[in-house]
Symmetry: C2
Subunit: 214 residues, 2 copies
């Protein structure tokens, strides 16, 4: 696929067909992921892949319960069932239904990737520059091969259990959970704010005259 | 360009031709950047572009001095001039010469992008998931159009001065400085560790049998 077609159509995918991902495709996806930059090219990122191994099966159960409780809390806190959420045809209701399906089936995703980061600077947010570029490469490469996924943080309630179960060392943190698979249904648009609201020139938030959506 | 050609050949570029970047290319690069995912699709990232505006000229001078002092400290701390660094043909010496050129000319880069992040969670490293995917999209899109750049953190010594000069609000942080331009000289290989050392399956660091470089 052409680069700009990939980068402008990659969106969060939360419903997956059950088909396993061929290993040649896994190799291409993770090769692309690991070409990403990191601080001083030190590559402190690592990807732990959960398929059907014995620990993977246990980890999937832990993730399923964590995702369901995280979504349940967000559903209530963000009022997904009130206002326009009461109308099942509203965008809010459809989003809620999609999220409910996601958390009810997350444990069945063809693969679940745990993105890991070996720490050097005690968790400052700029450390993310050494792992999230690789996560983005992963999602783009998946898209280029017809797969989809999403970066989530909903492993956080069971992070300690996952660390123990999966033998993750103490100086390595969970940076993201990324399920991957072939999308069910149509792919849908990428919804983002207009370019003009996200770019400034010279001072903040002085508009850049050239920052218009192509 | 084909997606996989872009993603496997994007590398840090630190020497730029002086040619300005046409505004159509800027729009395409930043459109691609801003299609990236972020937590709850909230898009807390923002890009502040420095070209030749009055504040940009001042900011470039600040960045130049910060980059030169940061590199000077790293050059000494990491022993770039000792060991094989004493041999001007060694890889270490060539790296040092390239970095010296970079910091001596950073203020002249055709554009310098400051990646910004509006904070929600007080600086935890996972917040980086809402800005560094966009930075990676930016670098890949630049590569696809024949440009190159690098994610750096060397703005940090002058972060407070930049915030004041560029009128960056108090809840917005500098996440990265990314100079961009057409590369001088040949593009060079992407040096990364083998895939097998960066991927595990089932437990950490259990090897994934399919994780071999393509």
């Amino acid at each position: 696929m052409d680069f700009f077609d990939v980068v402008t159509t990659t969106r969060a995918i939360r419903r997956y067909r059950p088909d396993p991902i061929p290993e040649d495709d896994l190799a291409r996806i993770f090769h692309a992921a690991t070409r990403a930059p990191s601080g001083s090219n030190s590559q402190p990122f690592h990807f732990l892949v959960l398929r059907d191994g014995p620990r993977a099966v246990e980890a999937r159960q832990l993730l399923g319960s964590a995702f369901r409780s995280a979504w349940s809390a967000k559903r209530a806190d963000d009022g997904y069932d009130s206002g326009s959420g009461a109308d099942p045809t509203s965008r809010k209701s459809r989003m809620a239904a999609s999220m409910q399906h996601f958390v009810d089936h997350i444990h069945e995703a063809p693969i679940i990737v745990l993105a890991l980061l070996r720490h050097r600077h005690a968790g400052h947010f700029t450390e993310g520059a050494s792992v999230y570029p690789a996560c983005q490469n992963l999602l783009l490469a998946a898209r280029a091969l017809g797969y989809g996924g999403v970066i989530t943080m909903w492993h956080q309630p069971v992070a300690a259990q996952l660390v123990e179960l999966l033998e993750i060392p103490p100086d390595v943190s969970l940076a993201a959970t990324i399920p991957l698979g072939r999308p069910i249904g149509h792919h849908g648009p990428v919804r983002r704010r207009p370019l003009a609201s996200l770019i400034s020139e010279d001072t903040y938030p002085h508009p850049a005259p050239w920052a218009t959506d192509p």
